[in-house]
């Protein structure tokens, strides 16, 4: 199997689907001629023509709005929002339109669209290029929200998202586009080629939306993470020597509740790690869920390690980012409690 970066895997997913299904089209700012500021659509316009991969005006609302119209027509549009931080003008189209079209028309119309957007920090992007807005999507009935942590899942999940009949928000943690970042920003960058999950099958395959995966089995504590934080959690666990079970959620809605509950019941302890701000973040939902389903199995309160409730700063980026030191210290405290 070839070893791909996240960017190559995402591009490969679109390539596979555009070759298989001529209803699949992709567009966004700088997506066509240039191939995207992160190069995720590089070469697709040359291969499939400018009517299937094209540049758009700088209007996120327009980009998602035309995607909804195309989806209702019968196409399978994949819209790119250049940074998740720029999605707010499109929020009305995502929340009020794409998410509710099937419901309000009782199935007469639907919006089978994918909205891709790079998210997360760790690239000195400050408050306009670092956000993790997943909870703004998981709170919306009718949306599916997925976030891969490696090239293998990125390709399989994106193919599943394009084939899905419902609108899918596809979040791409940009810090791991080119390598599996574990939060140690002062160490040399590790390429994806050194990571087994960069091995990506050729052609068509899917990673089902709604299925979490146990990345590492462990007995002492369950760590729930997604995206970049899966790698940070693994580093933290290793460094403090705690036998943690690490669950990569992959899909936030639908959520694989069974995998989570089984793990927490087994370990009796749970830590949730995400990069987004804490208050009303997705961790709050996970924490409530564990309280409802696993309360009598818990040996300690559920712990959240997250970004602070501040905008994402520039110079203080590594004080904001919930890196392996902070996760590790929290793990030690959790084991002592």
């Amino acid at each position: 199997m070839p070893s791909l970066t996240m960017i190559e895997a995402i591009r490969d997913a679109m390539d596979v689907m555009m070759a298989r299904d001529d209803r699949v089209v992709t567009f966004g700012q700088d997506v066509g001629r240039f191939g995207g500021v992160f190069r995720c659509t590089d070469g697709l316009q040359g291969k499939y023509g400018s009517s299937r991969c094209f540049d758009t005006p700088i209007s996120e609302s327009g980009i998602v709005g035309i995607a909804v119209g195309m989806g209702a027509y019968g196409l399978r549009p994949v819209a790119e929002i250049q940074f998740a931080d720029y999605m707010y003008p499109a929020y009305d189209q995502i929340v009020s339109e794409a998410a509710r079209l099937r419901y309000r028309s009782a199935g007469e119309f639907s919006a089978p669209i994918v909205v891709r957007m790079p998210c997360g920090g760790g690239i000195f992007g400050a408050q306009t290029h670092s956000q993790s807005p997943e909870a703004l999507f998981t709170h919306v009935a009718g949306l599916k929200t997925v976030i891969p942590s490696n090239p293998h899942d990125a390709k399989g999940l994106l193919i599943a998202a394009i084939e899905d009949d419902d609108p899918v928000v596809f979040l791409e943690p940009k810090r791991i586009y080119n390598g599996p970042f574990d939060g140690h920003h002062d160490r040399p960058v590790v390429p994806w080629s050194k990571h087994e999950l960069s091995e990506t099958p050729q052609g068509h395959y899917t990673v089902p939306i709604g299925e979490a995966v146990v990345r590492r089995e462990g007995a002492e504590v369950s760590i729930l993470a997604y995206g970049t934080m899966v790698h940070v959690a693994e580093a933290a666990r290793r460094e403090v020597g705690i036998d943690a079970e690490i669950i990569d959620l992959r899909s936030l809605i639908p959520l694989d509740v069974d995998t989570i509950v089984q793990s927490v019941i087994k370990t009796g302890r749970c830590m949730i790690v995400h990069e987004a701000t804490r208050t009303s973040g997705f961790g709050a939902e996970l924490s409530a869920l564990i309280q409802e389903k696993c309360f009598y199995h818990l040996e300690a309160p559920v712990v959240r390690v997250t970004g602070w409730d501040t905008p994402y700063p520039h110079a203080q980026e590594w004080d904001y980012f919930p890196g392996p030191d902070r996760v590790g210290r929290a793990l030690i405290r959790l084991m002592e409690s």
Binding site: S61, L75, P77, D92, E97, R104, D166
Partner: protein
């Protein structure tokens, strides 16, 4: 230098809609003078048409001028019937709301010519992205009234399963996209639908609908820039009925430039049309739809009309506009104008008019009885609460199944 203090401008309603109902400020174009350009004209060559008012019917009900030859007598009679039916339907549903059989209703009184006339220019397969005041698009196609009424009553035969506010219809077969209720969002979706049609080498066209007040929304401008860039087959309709609930069109920027002229900055051809003149509506709609179908791109049409009824059954216009406003509205009533025209050319009469109205009233009463047989919002049967959890997703995910069980289903 003697600098005067700055002053802040807040627009007042057009003088024509002030407390004195003075219509002297409204400019009426002479129907004979307003030209009909070739279908493949460049936007830059017809900038004047965004400031004129395309009309066909003169003050005496004669069809005159270059836009006058588009309709046959049969088409006109069926247009009159569609408008009368729409008006009678609105009247009946308003009564049913007053009788508390449903929560809410919205009439299109005074604006019937626009939707009814526009629909007559479309073909099967074309797609409207309507607002809540285009019921005429469906009624002009003789879409079953019982189906519409069941939606308004949110009863067990409501195809929307009681989920949507009354009048927020959806009828895919009739080329009528599900109404959102969020303003302007569907304008840009219509552009996307039309782009898809062009990408697929299809022959179907889209029609976007918006009110003049909602042109202030960003999606209106997004739609225009995408329509300008990709030249998809879409007609961009702006229904200027002068009022956004209580807010006059001047607050949406209508005093500085016409809404049709908004298209000029995007290089999109624009027409401004007397929306109370059925013949003008049909002619302008045919022109724009043909442009779209011949791959000549989009056209923006401002339909100038007057919202004679309240915004909705929850609105009381006596609080913000004079009672006699509609009576002095210079473009008159669309039903009366078409009736007078047909009568003038010997193709209609008062007796036939009275008879048609009676027939329509009877048809609507019959439909109302049938629809109420399937329940109303307050009594009889409606869709099971269990159905509330359907169609959120194509297949129900586990967390919704769990919540449905929690509700007891």
């Amino acid at each position: 230098m003697n600098v005067q203090p700055l002053t802040f401008h807040v627009p007042e309603p057009h003088p024509c809609f002030g407390s004195a109902a003075d219509v002297s400020g409204f400019q009426l174009s002479d129907a004979v003078r307003v030209r009909r350009p070739e279908i493949d004209v460049e936007a830059s060559e017809i900038r004047d048409l965004a400031y004129e008012l395309i009309r066909v019917l003169d003050a005496d009900g004669h069809a005159v001028g270059p836009w006058s030859e588009a309709c046959t007598v049969d088409q006109l009679r069926s247009g009159l019937r569609a408008m009368l039916k729409t008006r009678a339907y609105d009247a009946r549903m308003t009564v049913m709301q007053r009788q508390r059989k449903t929560s809410f209703y919205m009439q299109c009184t005074g604006e019937e010519a626009i939707a009814c006339g526009f629909q007559s220019a479309l073909q099967a397969g074309d797609m409207n992205f309507p607002t809540y005041r285009q019921q005429g698009l469906l009624i002009a196609q003789d879409w079953p009234l019982v189906d519409l009424m069941c939606q308004v009553l949110s009863n067990e035969k409501d195809r929307m399963k009681g989920r949507q506010l009354p009048v927020f219809y959806s009828a895919r077969e009739a080329g009528f996209f599900s109404i959102s209720g969020n303003l302007a969002t569907q304008y840009v979706q219509a552009v996307g639908w039309a782009m898809a049609s062009a990408m697929r080498g299809d022959s179907r066209v889209a029609a976007a609908w918006i009110g003049e007040g909602a042109t202030a929304e960003n999606d209106f401008h997004a739609a225009l820039v995408f329509a300008s860039v990709y030249r998809p087959p879409v007609v961009l309709n702006v229904v200027n009925n002068q009022w956004a609930i209580s807010t006059a069109q001047s607050v949406a920027g209508g005093a500085q430039a016409t809404f049709a002229a908004r298209a000029h900055g995007y290089g999109i051809p624009a027409l401004r049309v007397d929306g109370n003149d059925y013949l003008a509506v049909h002619a302008a709609a045919c022109w724009a739809v043909e442009r779209a179908r011949r791959n000549l791109g989009s056209t923006l049409i401002e339909w100038v009309t007057y919202r004679a009824a309240p915004h909705s059954t929850s609105d009381d216009p006596s609080k913000y506009r004079p009672q006699n406003d509609q009576a002095v509205w210079p473009l008159g009533d669309p039903v009366e104008r078409l009736k007078d025209h047909l009568t003038g050319i010997g193709e209609w009469s008062e007796a036939r008019h009275v008879q048609l109205k009676a027939e329509l009233d009877e048809e609507i009463a019959g439909a109302a009885k049938e629809a109420q047989g399937s329940g109303t919002l307050v009594e009889g049967s409606k869709c099971s609460p269990a159905s509330m959890f359907d169609d959120v997703y194509k297949s129900m995910p586990p967390h919704l199944r769990e919540q449905r069980q929690e509700l007891g289903f």
